[in-house]
């Protein structure tokens, strides 16, 4: 809401006019300042002049010679405009004045007559587009008064963001009231000076929906002449960001800004059947609103009808059919109390959020409806020459009561700390216009313009707000025992390990497109779907982490990156019920990575290795060792994975995912050249508690190393060969590792393993080692692996 300081000052004598200080006060009482704009007149040297005399130019037909009093007797000014006569008041730029566009005014002689200045049009002053004639002021003014004062310049406009709980603060009077409470001073409301003529309006109002409409006040104004509203009003509206339209419509907006109650003016002669009825719309009805749009009404919309059908969207926007126009002479001024949620839903459904709906959706004081209506009717009568009929409509369909809250000092102390005196608390509430019966508890009657205050805690906030949030002593309480759980510490360990291995952590949006799933060979999988996505791309939740990472990889490659290694942890979403809370879909955490290009240490720019399935497995082994996971790898396959370069991972007997290489077809589909090491694993099993390591002191005795090379078939797994030979080596085995895989020309395959034996308590002898070695060879033979060269 844009708030002109000059306008606000009409309602309150502020102790300061310093913009920064006032912005600080607004902020401290919860009225957020989004901007402060200093407005200056775009001219200098322009004063109010009274035209004393207008005479023809002796030597020119189209211009006239005027005598104008600008505070110091008659001044001669030549003027080419004809829209005025002697007696009116006009803005005069005197010699030396500078108008918008650096237009400097000097003395000029026009066909022998000297002009000591210029009478200005609205456009010449940058105040509007009107250039048909000069600007004739509305009433009597003091000659010689700086013209800027008439349009209240200089001024400061505060842009306030009023919270959804503060309908009361969306007006000049409301803001003055809040500031008055803050400063503990008085504020002023506009005059309640409606003059009526005898007679009753013939309009009937029927409220068929008392939930939607609590109260409907209507007054009839006759003999209205629609025209331009006075300059002061137009400029106040303009500063508030509203476009001046006509003296009737401007009044409704003006009073809304002034008092906070939106109003609507109907052309009374366009209301068919002299009846307005309020009810919900029926399917299929349409209404052309003031903005010229034809709106399809929906059954929950709250509509004002006349006998010809819908004529206005309640509290949101009027209809074109009953709009006040130049021909209007009879006006119905409406001020009604609409149901906040009804207006909130309707205005959003139709994308029609107006100044009126913003107020109604917060809740406008029903008490204010008649007050605002009287003020607006009086102003219309004053500005348009009309007469207000005494007999008005005031339908109350649902009466209201002010809220009464019992506030205990214990409530105040509990939330704000002890230290506020009960009298101080009561004083603050009274400054906010609550009626307080002192005592403990105090009985507080809340004014109806504060619908947000219904409970003790709400009143405590008011006390804190006016007292000052920052005036309560700061303390730092601590919890009884904090810290990360073992599971949370393991999460950090995992991400730190992967980062240490050269992988960077990615974060992808958790949505997926079905084409990306098809690229991975995933089809027909049920996907969790967003009912109301903003864009198609955000309609399906990911069942796998890989598409996000692969797309990120491709993007990085397109920027020229080499060596892209990304990992991500996050949730995937499945269309199965969650184990813990079956009302929810299953949303397990996953860990995934993609590895592409040179990996690990490089020497003189030459990488040690290019990423592929083996590198991916190396990353996984490093991780598993670091976090102490006992795991088993078996050849496996999964959609998107290379069938011959992928391991299924088992932890504690459960399959938890796959580590390996991207299927070449998927790589092609994602337009990624070369091999990609990938993995996708359930995260939870990696976070489970692991038994503590049983430590040992290393032996200081010498070791015995020997190599065995076994001839094996293609389907013998290295891991099985190690398992059986290690077992045969027994407790003296310290380590064993495959140091070579040999493939001969005839499809021969051999695996060479180096074993190291060591005893804890003695030096091993050849006699001891020989039978162990034999047993290991036999164990290999037992699974079809014969000693090579034997």
């Amino acid at each position: 809401m844009k708030v002109s300081l000059r306008w606000l000052q009409e309602h309150i004598d502020l102790p300061t006019t310093d913009a920064a200080e006032l912005a600080g006060v607004f902020t401290s009482i919860g009225l957020e300042v989004e901007g402060v704009e200093a407005l200056e007149a775009d001219w200098t040297g322009v004063f109010v002049g009274k035209v004393l005399e207008v005479a023809p130019h002796p030597d020119a037909d189209r211009i006239r010679v005027c005598q104008v009093d600008i505070g110091a007797g008659p001044t001669q000014i030549v003027c080419g405009a004809w829209n005025f006569d002697a007696g009116v008041y006009v803005p005069v730029a005197v010699p030396g004045a500078v108008l918008p566009g650096d237009f400097e005014i000097g003395e000029r002689t026009i066909r022998g007559v000297t002009s000591h200045g210029m009478i200005c049009s609205e456009r010449e002053l940058g105040l509007g587009e009107d250039h048909a004639g000069i600007l004739v002021l509305d009433g009597e003014e003091e000659p010689g008064r700086p013209f800027a004062e008439l349009v209240e310049l200089p001024d400061v406009v505060f842009d306030l963001a009023i919270g959804p709980n503060r309908p009361d603060a969306m007006s000049m009077v409301g803001l003055a009231r809040d500031l008055a409470a803050y400063y503990d001073i008085e504020y002023r409301t506009p005059p309640d000076d409606l003059v009526t003529v005898p007679g009753d309006t013939e309009l009937r109002v029927v409220i068929e929906d008392p939930t939607g409409c609590r109260r409907f006040v209507a007054r009839e104004i006759r003999g209205v002449t629609v025209g331009r509203s006075p300059m002061w009003m137009r400029h106040r509206l303009a500063k508030a960001g509203m476009r001046p339209i006509s003296n009737v419509v401007d009044v409704t907006n003006y009073v809304m800004l002034e008092l906070g109650h939106p109003l609507h003016a109907f052309d009374a002669d366009s209301i068919s059947g002299n009846e307005l009825a309020v009810r919900r719309a029926s399917e299929g009805e349409t209404l052309v609103t003031l903005d010229g749009e034809e709106r399809r009404l929906l059954p929950d919309d709250l509509i004002i009808y006349d006998q010809d059908g819908p004529t206005s969207m309640s509290g949101t926007m009027g209809g074109e059919r009953s709009e006040v126009g130049d021909e209007t002479t009879r006006v119905i001024m409406e001020a009604a109390s609409w149901d906040p949620p009804t207006i909130m839903y309707m205005s959003r459904r139709h994308g029609l959020r107006s100044e009126a709906s913003l107020r109604f959706e917060r809740g406008v004081d029903p008490e204010l409806a008649d007050r605002a209506n009287r003020r607006a009717s009086a102003l219309v009568a004053q500005l348009s020459g009309g007469e207000v009929l005494e007999g008005a409509v005031d339908e109350i369909a649902a009466p209201w009561q002010p809220a009464v809250v019992e506030l205990k000092m214990a409530d105040v102390d509990r939330l704000l700390g002890p230290g506020l005196a009960a009298d101080h608390v009561a004083d603050i509430l009274e400054r906010l216009e609550m009626k307080v019966d002192r005592g403990d508890p105090m009985r507080v009657v809340v004014p109806t313009f504060r619908p947000d205050l219904t409970r003790p805690a709400d009143l405590v906030e008011e006390v804190a707000r006016i007292h000052g949030y920052d005036r309560f002593e700061a303390r730092i309480p601590t919890g009884p025992a904090g810290g990360l759980t073992a599971r949370q510490r393991r999460m950090r360990r995992i991400t730190e390990t992967l980062a240490g291995a050269g992988l960077s952590q990615a974060l992808s949006l958790p949505f997926v497109g079905e084409p990306d799933l098809e690229k991975l060979g995933i089809e027909g999988l049920g996907l969790l779907t967003v009912k109301n996505p903003l864009r198609e791309e955000e309609s399906k939740l990911r069942p796998t982490m890989l598409p996000g990472l692969l797309n990120a990889l491709r993007r990085n490659l397109s920027y020229g990156a080499t060596g892209v290694h990304l990992f991500e942890t996050g949730r995937v979403f499945l269309v199965d019920p969650d184990d813990e809370d079956p009302r929810l879909p299953s949303q397990p955490m996953r860990l995934a990575w993609v590895l592409h290009g040179p990996f690990g240490m490089s020497v003189d720019g030459r990488p040690s290795v290019e990423s592929d399935g083996r590198v991916s497995l190396a990353v996984w082994r490093r991780l598993a060792e670091t976090i102490g996971i006992e795991m088993r790898l078996v050849p496996g396959s999964a959609p998107g994975f290379h069938p011959g370069r992928t391991a299924a991972v088992e932890v504690a007997g459960e399959a938890i995912g796959h580590v390996g290489e991207l299927h070449p077809e998927a790589a092609r589909a994602f337009e990624i050249p070369g091999r990609v090491g990938i993995a996708e694993l359930d995260y939870e099993p990696l976070l489970a508690e692991v038994p503590n390591v049983a430590g040992f002191t290393p032996s200081v005795y010498p070791h015995v190393d020997f190599d065995l090379s076994f001839r094996v078939s293609d389907d013998t797994l290295a891991v099985d060969l190690l398992r059986v030979t290690n077992a045969a080596a027994g407790e003296l085995l310290e380590s064993s590792w495959v140091f070579d895989e040999f493939r001969g020309p005839d499809g021969e395959r051999a695996i060479a393993i180096r074993y190291r034996l060591r005893a804890r308590d003695r030096t091993l002898t050849n006699d001891e080692v020989a039978p162990i070695r034999r047993a290991m060879i036999e164990a290999g033979a037992g699974i079809g692996a014969d000693l090579r060269g034997a």
Partner: protein
């Protein structure tokens, strides 16, 4: 032969011989020539047995003297030569230390996760625990348990993503805030409660420089006997100083959230200019940066959790992680956080 004369002669000639040696190898040869078996000293040593008994002590003593003296000459020279040779070898063995010929690239954790951990650690230091909750969440925990009326605009489809899942009475949505973790935690734990809950949140927003449909929040909640608005302010001031720097000031200004009453926004003083630079790229000269929403836990939220609002009080806050990261690191586009450009990711170690 006169052993004493031989010894004197050996000592005399030792000086120049040792001095002439120019390598460690040469000094080794000189050593053997002066002290070896066939050296004059060696001959005297062998001849000792043949000497007259009365000469023996004298010659023996002199032999030892001369031997020690020559050894010490050789030792000093060898050290000198060894040092020269070592220096020459090291000079030959050097490389350009500014040349990165061997590279061991490291990865990085995502800035968002670094910030989350940092914030979590600040609160863990105050005795908080870390709570988690589901991202696909019941409307009950996201709204109802948090005192959000059925008619609150945040529930509209224009703000909240709903899922095609669940019973009509148990609407499931993508949580719009981390606050439902509050409700879930209180439901299953007895006070006192001191928790932070970091996680992903969702809103129907289009991607632009300051909005993402998916972002991260950290929720904080403390419920105990005797917690007041001053405890909230002190706690958040502590957080702001730890996160942005020790000179950071905070201010609370009244605001509105359904789940807190009183509610507040926390602003922190600009940690770049403190409000002194009208063209500051971080605060724009205003001196204050909007940082988070907070407040005293609404009594209805306590009641929904089964807590007694007449006895307990508490405070809660929710901070946008992306906002924290953008402000502190001067980032101009939130999109950086989801594009996974390794040039972006690797800046933050």
């Amino acid at each position: 032969m006169d052993p004493l004369a031989t010894l004197d002669e050996a000592l005399r000639s030792a000086g120049p011989m040792v001095a002439e040696a120019s390598t460690v190898d040469e000094i080794d040869r000189v050593e053997s020539a002066l002290l070896g078996k066939d050296s004059p000293l060696g001959q005297v040593r062998r001849a000792m047995a043949t000497l007259a008994a009365e000469d023996r002590p004298k010659v023996g003593a002199r032999l030892n003297e001369v031997t020690v003296e020559i050894e010490s000459l050789i030792h000093a020279k060898r050290r000198e030569l060894q040092a020269l040779e070592d220096a020459a070898r090291l000079a030959e063995d050097s490389f350009d230390v500014t040349l990165e010929s061997v590279r061991l690239p490291a990865g990085t954790r995502h800035l968002i996760h670094q910030v989350i951990d940092e914030v979590v650690d600040i609160f863990v230091g105050l005795g908080y625990r870390v709570a988690e909750g589901p991202e696909a969440e019941l409307a009950y925990y996201n709204f109802d348990a948090l005192n959000t009326p059925k008619t609150h605009p945040a529930r509209l489809e224009s703000d909240t993503m709903y899922l095609e899942w669940g019973a009509p009475d148990d609407e499931v949505l993508l949580r719009t805030q981390t606050s439902p973790v509050q409700a879930r935690y209180m439901e299953s734990h007895q006070p006192p409660v001191y928790i932070v809950a970091p996680g992903r949140t969702y809103r129907t927003d289009t991607v632009d420089a300051t909005h993402l449909p998916v972002f991260h929040q950290i929720e904080g909640l403390a419920v105990d006997e005797g917690l007041t608005l001053g405890d909230l302010r002190g706690t958040l001031a502590h957080f702001a100083r730890e996160f942005f720097g020790s000179r950071t000031e905070v201010r609370l200004r009244p605001s509105f959230f359904p789940f807190t009453e009183p509610s507040a926004e926390l602003d922190v003083s600009c940690f770049i200019c403190g409000g002194s630079d009208p063209s500051c790229r971080v605060c724009g000269g205003g001196g204050w940066l909007e940082m988070l929403g907070c407040g005293m836990v609404d009594p209805n939220v306590l009641v929904a959790a089964g807590y007694d609002p007449e006895v307990l009080s508490g405070f809660a806050f929710g901070v946008g992680v992306e906002r924290l990261a953008m402000v502190r690191h001067g980032l101009d586009s939130i999109k950086n956080f989801i594009e996974n450009d390794i040039r972006f990711l690797r800046q933050f170690r």
